[in-house]
Each structure stands twice: as structure tokens, then as C-alpha cells.
Subunit: 339 residues, 2 copies
């Protein structure tokens, strides 16, 4: 089956997705009978497009960023277009802006209008306009998957929707942000301050120059919000989530946790209480008997409490552009191949 | 959608499955538009059958065991039949016999002959006759799911087949048997001998009177074998698995593990080496940085090493008849409802 793709956003994750398409092309045809062709890639300056498929090798070798698309346009003679034409699916990988939800929201609504299926990696549009997007998608019979926006390689939606089918999810608890978990792990293991651990994480490319989304808990809040809306039936938005990040975690807090034989973790929680769904993010100490206590470094983890299967969770899926791109590829496979 | 079911085996898991069918009946209709009707239940003495559906309340309240089916027959006036008629699906929950694979094998082949889909909970038939069963199922376009035989509520096949789609699984490592994990956890936490821990587990109903399958590693071997055959493409049988159980784990071994800050676990492993798949089960010490190090008591866990998503695993799914029955119900839902 031939599937024509549009990719919006050519950052490190978008570029990694292009690399995976190339690296896995033969495997995807053999294992799933899927032949993906990238017909458009868009960045700040516009879209490069080709009905016959863009050269994945050239794009995969390029530096991430919109400038590479302009260079590609110049070198190939393909003009930069202002938008994309109808295709089979959109891979939405623009930077997350939790205030406006743009530019992802515009791209997603355009794809829905074109009846294109959607794999979202960026979170902004989903956390700002969840209801609008899903109402429009349903009305247009468009399928939308977003593993890449809910902890990427860590299977969260999969477990909630598939592995727990027939069970009732009572609560969700997760370590959903690899960067903040790495910082807390370093603070505890190496007995350094938050500032020192953050600087080291930035030096290693684990934390961004502007680490706000991660260390203030916003990224975790986006993920648990999307999980709650998908799995617990709520229709909450980001302002409904009580969020405390790890900026205020002191060396004394860490020493206290160690003294109690515990670990400090940034936990995201969603649960039903008095008929409503509550969602919150904040630092907590967890003991060695907690299923997530061995989730250290950039690893993530999630535990679902259920009525019939006890506690079931996932661990691992260490944060990386490759992992996020692989999660999007997984979603894409499931849009067109049923196992 | 109406789905007529045959259940073979009325032990604790079979009875729990009946209870779940009753408890979840309304929910399953609402959430998945599935209306399951139990038309036959078979035990050692024969089958009770009813085209209109057997009374789930009476069966769910009965003691587990074939005798209850005979009592049901007497009280209801329904005669015991020698076998079952064609229906939509078979739930195979007879006791696991890894030597003969019977009686499950006979029931499974009969179901395939009737073009009934199958949800297997018992392992004997699958580990003895994997190739025969799947060849026949393919030839008859029969779907067969067996989450209940591969660690039940712990999502193992789901993650391998669904969450890791597009990735290559390099190796699988798991704590797949709740009983032996409980015994090892007790030995380490309470500093008791294997015999004392086993006796306590038997007293609590966690270990069976004849604990051979669990403590000799055979149950773990069955599960990792089925995972390897399903996910790594092998066609191995039980005799190909190198198995060491926990019977030989001494108090000294446990003390040594504790001294090193590690835990003793019964690990089941499958990996590719020199073009072939190797499968082995044996006790190992794992450090606190291992993703499975917080998997204690009757909990289970599994980690897949992949080429694109790093290490991804599942934890929890504590062993219980209810968890095993819920895993079978999940499989049944997926046979008839695609998300």
C-alpha cells in the first residue's frame, strides 16, 4: 500500500523521522506491506514538495532546521510552496507552543479539512484545542494518533487503550518527562544542586537552553492531560492541571529522600474523585517498592491502577529524537496496518 | 455484535472468567458493542451447554472444578454432553500439561476445525504443538490470541506486536512468573530459606501444592518460548530452552546479592545470536539500575531492547486468577473490536 506523507516541522525529531523512513523503507514494505513516500516537508520558510517523493537521503543528511529546507529548494530547483496539498497523512512535528497551539493547530485543521489522517508529535495544538480537533476529526472521519505527544517510545496510550481493554482505569501515575527525571536522578546520585544538575544536562544536550517546559512541569502536564482526556473521558485543558515543577526541589529535599531510602520523582497523576477527573503534577518521594522506583536518568514510566488487572505499567522509552520519531512511525503503521 | 463462547476448563481462572463476563456484561456492550453469551462450559466429566446462554450468576457462584458442572447439569436438567458444538470463539482454560499438551490441544484443534477463533489461557498445547496449531489456524483463517499464556495481565505480546511496531526487537528479558518472584522476594526481604518461603507462599495460596511448574522455571520457560516464537520469528519447542529454576537458590546466594546491593530474580531471556534465537531461564542478580529491579512480590515485568526505541518494558500485572481472566477478556475484545 502506497501512503503519501506530509511532514510539518524539520527540527531534530522531524529530521530523525525522515532518517527512519529511509532506514526502514525495505523493512516496512516487507513486514507491513506499507510503502511510505514523503511528498512535502514544511518549515518556517515554506514547503518543499514533490509528487514523486522527496530525496530522503539528502534530507536525512541535512542539518535540522527550516534553513535546510530552503537550501534543499535552491539545490534541487524545487520552489518553496506556501502550504501543502492533499496527501494521505500528516506528521505534525513543529515545536510545541502551549500558549497558542500554533503552528501545529493550523496544520492539523488543514489536514482534517483534506481528510488526511494525522500523527501528532508536538503537543501544543492538542492541549490547547483538544475538543475542537477531535470534534472536527470525527466529523471528517479522520484518524488521529499521538503517541509521540504522550511520552513517545514509552507505551502509554497503547496500554491504556489496548492492553487494558475491558478493564476500568482507576488512576494513572507517571514519570513522563525524561529531562526532569535525569536532573532529579543526578541530584540524588551525585549530590549536586538543581542548578548544577541542570547545567550538566544542558551540556549533554538532554536539557534545552530554555528548559522551562521540562523543569516547570509543563511538558509532564501536557502528557498526563492528554492521557486523562483519552483514557478517563475528561475534556480538561492545561489550565485545569495543578502543576509544580522541579525548580524548587532543594538539595535538602534530596538528602531527606535518600535518608528515608526513597527517590525524588516528578510524578504526573490523573484520577477520578467525586465523579470528576483530577490531574496534577508535582515532585514526590517514592519508596523502593514503587513500580517506578527503578525509572532513573532519561527513562520514563507509567502505572495504571485497574479494577481487574491490578497495577499495570510501562517503563523505559528513554527520551531521544529517535525514540520520538519511532513512536510516530509506530502510529503511522497502525493507521494503515491492523495486526 | 453477539458472540457465542465455549469455555473449556472450569478451574479458578475459568470460573473467574465467567464472573467477569457477568460483572462486565453491560460495560462490554456499551464500550465495545459486544454481547458475549456463554453457550458451553466443559470439564473432565463433560460439557454443559445452552444455546440461549448459561446462567452466569449460578456458575460464578459455584466452586471451581468439574464437579460444579455436574451439579449444574443435575440442578438445571441440562444433560452433560460429550463435546461442544460450533460457536464463535473458544476460551481454552484447562490445566497446563507441558508433556502432552492435552486436553487443550484437542479442544484447540476442534475449534480450528469449526473455524472458531481462540483465546488460549493454558500453555501446554501452545508449547508442545505451536507449529501444528498455527499452521492449522492460518489454513482455516482462525485467529488465535494467547495473552493469558504469556504473563496474563502484564502486557507482553501487546507491547511486542503493537507498541514496538516498526522497531526491531534485539532481545527480551523478563520476570515472568509471579510465584517464584514472590518466593525470591520473601527470601531476600525476610531472610528465610527457600523451603520456608515456599511454604509461606503455599499457605497464602500463591504457590500450588505441587509447585514444580513455577519453582523449576518451567512456567517461565513456556512464556518466554511463546514470546520468542511470536516476536523473534523462531519455531522452538520447550526442549530447546535452557532452564534453571529457583530450587537451588540458597540463603547464601541471597545474602551475597544483598551485600552487593542487588536482588535475586528468576530471569527469562530470548535473544538473537549468530542468526539463531536462544532462549534461557535462570536466577540472576540484578542491580538497582535495572528497569525490573522494583518488580517484587507476585509482580512481573519484561523489557524489550530495540533498535529505535531503546529499552521499553512493562511492569506489574500481579499474578491472580482475576488478572488471567481479564487478559483473556482483553484478547476476546480485540478479536471482535478494532480500536
Amino acid at each position: 500500500m502506497r501512503v503519501n506523507l506530509v511532514l510539518t516541522g524539520f527540527g531534530v525529531v522531524g529530521r530523525e523521522f525522515v532518517r527512519l523512513l529511509q532506514e526502514k523503507h525495505r523493512f516496512l514494505r516487507r513486514a507491513y506491506e506499507l510503502d511510505f513516500r514523503l511528498v512535502a516537508v514544511g518549515g518556517r520558510g515554506g514547503f518543499i514538495t514533490s509528487e514523486d517523493g522527496l530525496d530522503l537521503k539528502i534530507l536525512g543528511d541535512a542539518e535540522p532546521g527550516s534553513d535546510s529546507l530552503e537550501t534543499f529548494s535552491k539545490n534541487s530547483g524545487l520552489p518553496l510552496m506556501s502550504t501543502f496539498d492533499q496527501a494521505d497523512a500528516l506528521i505534525e512535528a513543529t515545536p510545541t507552543d502551549t500558549d497558542s497551539g500554533e503552528p501545529g493547530f493550523g496544520y492539523i485543521m488543514k489536514a482534517i479539512h483534506h481528510q488526511m489522517d494525522i500523527v501528532a508529535i508536538s503537543k501544543g495544538a492538542l492541549v490547547r484545542h483538544y475538543d475542537t480537533i477531535f470534534t472536527a476529526a470525527d466529523a471528517n472521519q479522520v484518524k488521529l494518533k499521538f503517541s509521540g505527544a504522550t511520552a513517545a517510545a514509552l507505551p502509554t496510550l497503547d496500554i491504556g487503550q489496548i492492553s487494558l481493554a475491558g478493564s476500568e482505569i482507576v488512576s494513572i501515575e507517571g514519570i513522563l518527562n525524561g529531562t526532569s527525571n535525569y536532573i532529579l536522578s543526578s541530584m540524588q546520585r551525585e549530590q549536586v544542586s538543581f542548578e548544577e544538575a541542570l547545567k550538566a544536562a544542558q551540556h549533554q544536550g538532554i536539557a534545552e537552553a530554555n528548559p522551562r517546559l521540562d523543569v516547570e512541569g509543563i511538558d509532564s502536564a501536557c502528557k498526563i492531560l492528554l492521557l486523562a482526556n483519552s483514557l478517563l473521558g475528561s475534556r480538561l485543558s492545561l489550565s485545569d492541571v495543578t502543576v509544580t515543577g522541579i525548580v524548587g526541589v532543594s538539595s535538602e529535599d534530596i538528602i531527606e529522600a535518600s535518608a528515608q531510602g526513597k527517590k525524588m520523582k516528578l510524578l504526573a497523576r490523573a484520577y477520578k474523585q467525586d465523579g470528576t477527573v483530577r490531574v496534577e503534577v508535582g515532585p514526590s518521594m517514592i519508596g523502593s517498592d514503587h513500580l517506578l522506583s527503578s525509572v532513573d536518568g532519561t527513562n520514563k514510566g507509567i502505572v495504571f491502577r485497574t479494577d481487574t488487572m491490578g497495577d499495570v505499567g510501562a517503563v523505559g522509552g528513554s527520551s531521544s529524537p529517535r525514540g520520538a520519531a519511532a513512536a510516530a512511525l509506530k502510529d503511522l503503521i497502525h493507521l494503515y496496518h491492523t495486526t
